[in-house]
């Protein structure tokens, strides 16, 4: 990208990239595995709607255990560690320094993935907490929290060591994300899973606040922060800074107030406030859309299904998923949309359509630089992009439409409830195909990552055997 721009400092881009190598691999490898596993479980769960009677014998295969396990794998297993990895690299690049304390994120990555593993097992054996998006019980939650803090330390140290004092717009978003997660995760765990949890529906309110701040806000901060770093570079343009600042401020002010369902059995001011906030979200959305158009449209760079395509598509998906969120906050529409598949469609679009695609694109872009060799299967990048787009089309569109059909039938008291379920069933069965495409795409992503890892390990072993004092520097055939 900007390899030559770094020459004024002592470090070359190659050295910066090399310092990120091991921590990033530790974060990404398991993340790719969890992504594939999460989608596989999601697929298995959706088979319940094809043949419910076949899923009765085994507690592990119950829909109510498969779905939380799969969702948590997507968010805790894949999204957060992959996002943190990309964040570390962007921080190192923007700071023009090597990654500070590289050993810390390596250890933290292992703690994190151990936490995800234990949490998943806990859900399967029936130890889930019962709170949506917060199903991991106390022990794995502590591991995740500690690991996040460790990675944040390394990220902040790298940030502090920057040469240029002026902050890049990506910095704002990513720094805010570093601050966001520890606060929301600790406060929610303390209020809901400590020895004396809060009473009654306050639990549900806190859980909605947490879920919105995790799925909508945190993912948006990291995803948009990443997009704002890569898009100007790909397009060869500069980012409109003041507009980005405006988008950042308005987004973090309004977005954390969304997410309380309109019909919830809680004091009425809570959903009312949430509804107002979701209307206001339109302001940062317009700003982000303008930034996107100004940066990307008319750019001479062809994307050809590569990382540029990924990140462009992901940003558009973010705008769409936010619009779906706004519609759910609108009292008239929410009467139809709530309690239907529309809300899960929005969450899946946010996680898979926006975040996963942006982060996969970023990883495809940074991995060759970090490893100092090209991706083992460059053609799979494009294949994955198409599979994901196809998968999303077959997953999100049927779920959203099915949700509206289901909601319309549910709102009509003259129709029996079974009508609404049956109407949604056809759409659900179509969405299984979408999950299959997404699973295949995630396997291609994992294939590239694991092949990279193996190639690197082989090179490492070879260089050790060959008693060469400077491992890997022989392959400096970088364009």
């Amino acid at each position: 990208m900007n390899g030559n721009a770094t020459s004024q400092y002592n470090l070359s881009a190659d050295e910066i990239d090399a310092s990120c190598r091991v921590p990033l691999l530790a974060l990404f490898n398991c993340a790719a595995l969890w992504l594939a596993l999460g989608l596989a479980l999601e697929l298995l769960a959706s088979l319940t709607f094809h043949m419910p009677e076949k899923f009765g014998g085994c507690a592990f295969l119950t829909y109510g255990r498969l779905v939380p396990a799969a969702n948590d794998l997507l968010i805790y297993g894949f999204a957060i560690p992959a996002g943190l990895g990309v964040m570390l690299w962007i921080f190192a690049r923007l700071s023009q320094t090597e990654l500070v304390l590289p050993l810390v994120p390596i250890i933290a990555a292992h703690i994190w993935h151990l936490g995800v593993f234990i949490g998943t097992i806990a859900i399967f054996i029936g130890d889930s907490t019962g709170f949506a998006w917060l199903e991991y019980p106390r022990a794995p939650a502590i591991l995740l929290f500690a690991a996040f803090l460790l990675i944040a330390i390394s990220a902040l140290a790298t940030f502090g060591a920057r040469h240029q004092r002026e902050l890049h717009p990506s910095h704002w978003f990513l720094l805010a994300a570093l601050f966001w997660f520890p606060w929301i995760y600790s406060t929610t765990n303390l209020f809901l899973l400590s020895g004396h949890p809060v009473r009654g529906v306050a639990q549900a309110v806190i859980d909605w606040w947490f879920a919105n701040n995790l799925i909508f806000v945190w993912l948006a901060l990291v995803g948009i922060g990443t997009a704002f770093y890569f898009l100007p570079k790909f397009a060869g343009r500069s980012l409109p800074n003041y507009l980005a600042l405006f988008a950042f401020w308005t987004f973090i002010l309004f977005a954390p107030w969304c997410g309380i369902p309109q019909g919830a059995p809680v004091p009425a001011w809570l959903p009312a406030l949430s509804s107002v906030a979701s209307m206001l979200i339109i302001i940062p959305l317009i700003a982000i859309a303008i930034i996107f158009v100004k940066t990307v449209c008319g750019a001479k760079t062809q994307c050809k299904g590569g990382p540029f395509c990924h990140i462009k598509f992901g940003t558009v998906a973010f705008l769409l998923s936010s619009l779906m969120l706004i519609s759910l906050g609108c009292p008239h529409f929410s009467k139809i949309g709530e309690f239907t598949w529309f809300a899960p469609a929005q969450a899946q679009l946010q996680i898979l359509g926006f975040f996963a695609i942006v982060i996969c694109g970023a990883i495809y872009e940074l991995l060759p630089r970090v490893m100092n060799f090209e991706l083992p299967f460059p053609k799979l990048v494009r294949a994955q992009h198409w599979l994901f787009m196809l998968g999303l089309a077959f997953l999100i569109v049927p779920l959203a439409i099915g949700g509206i059909v289901q909601g319309l039938k549910m709102a009509n008291p003259n129709l029996p409830f079974a009508d609404s379920t049956n109407a949604a069933l056809i759409f659900l069965r179509v969405s299984t195909m979408g999950l299959l495409f997404l699973l295949l795409g995630s396997l291609l992503f994992a294939a590239n990552l694991f092949a990279t890892f193996c190639k690197w390990q082989c090179a490492l072993v070879k260089s050790m055997l060959g008693i060469v004092n400077a491992p890997l520097e022989t392959s400096e055939v970088k364009s």
Partner: protein, 272 residues
């Protein structure tokens, strides 16, 4: 922005505000909630669930029932009927007044206005309130769910999606424990084309001893075990059913009023 500190400050203010709004305020407002009084009665609500039902909530949680079932009845509004209980001395004036007044399907304000007019004319009236909405007309409950319904539950299992029907009032709707057990074991047997997966792992298949177990399920041929065997619910299944049967939202509260059906036969409302 030039310093990281300012970004942190911005994030701190933004997240802190929403934390105060959606974490601190609900905890202060609802976290110390106590029992409330049932409308027109000296009884308090809710009462703690029984021991087996409390255990059953944990079975409900462990198996993620909330992934498909909500526990929140919605209500779009309420319809009030003003009913004349006594015409008083000036019955001609009252009957004249009533013939000109709309007395059914009113809002609360209209009903109050009508009943004021009747009182002014010397008659006596009472107002009957009924909740309205798709969930109510579907028979899922008599009124909407409110915060008080969940006072003793931990974790609160509101749910977010209705793949299956709402369960907030299932104990009053489908109060037969045997039906519930049968439905858990073989949903497709009880509800045709049900999308619910069976929960067979909550049941044991055991050899019939000298005397058949009194708990054994009476299953049709299609779902019955091999000859000489019987299907017996485990403690988990029994607790889960106890919890389901304990789910009832059938008392009027200040924030969700309705006139209970048994009082609607011209008995004064405060005499229960």
């Amino acid at each position: 922005m030039k310093s990281g500190f300012r970004v942190f400050l911005a994030a701190f203010v933004a997240l802190g505000l929403s934390w105060c709004g959606f974490v601190l305020a609900p905890v202060l407002q609802l976290g110390e909630a106590k029992q409330t009084q049932i409308l027109n009665s000296s009884d308090t609500y809710p009462i703690q669930r029984t021991g087996d039902a409390t255990l059953g909530l944990q079975v409900y949680r462990a198996n993620g029932c909330a992934a498909c079932h909500t526990e929140q009845i919605q209500q779009s509004g309420m319809a009030c009927d003003v009913i004349l209980t006594s015409a008083g001395k000036n019955s001609a004036a009252v009957s004249n007044l009533i013939s000109n007044l709309k007395l059914t399907g009113l809002t609360k304000e209209e009903a109050d206005a009508a009943s004021d007019k009747i009182t002014a004319a010397g008659g006596k009236s009472e107002t009957h309130i009924a909740a309205t909405g798709a969930d109510i007309s579907r028979g899922w409950g008599i009124r909407r769910s409110v915060a008080a319904d969940f006072l003793y539950d931990s974790p609160v299992q509101l749910g977010g999606i209705r793949v299956g029907p709402d369960l907030a009032n299932v104990g009053a709707r489908l109060g037969n424990a045997n039906w519930q057990l049968l439905h858990l074991y073989a949903p497709q047997d009880v509800v045709k084309n049900s999308a619910m997966p069976p929960f067979r792992f909550l049941f044991n298949v055991q050899k019939i001893g000298d005397v058949p177990s009194s708990d054994a399920l009476q299953l049709p041929k299609e779902f019955a075990p091999a000859a000489g065997y019987e299907i017996v619910p485990t403690d988990d299944a029994k607790n889960l059913v106890a919890y389901l049967l304990s789910l009832r939202v059938d008392v009027p509260l200040y924030e969700a009023p309705f006139t209970p059906p048994q009082i609607s036969t011209n008995v004064p409302a405060n005499k229960k």
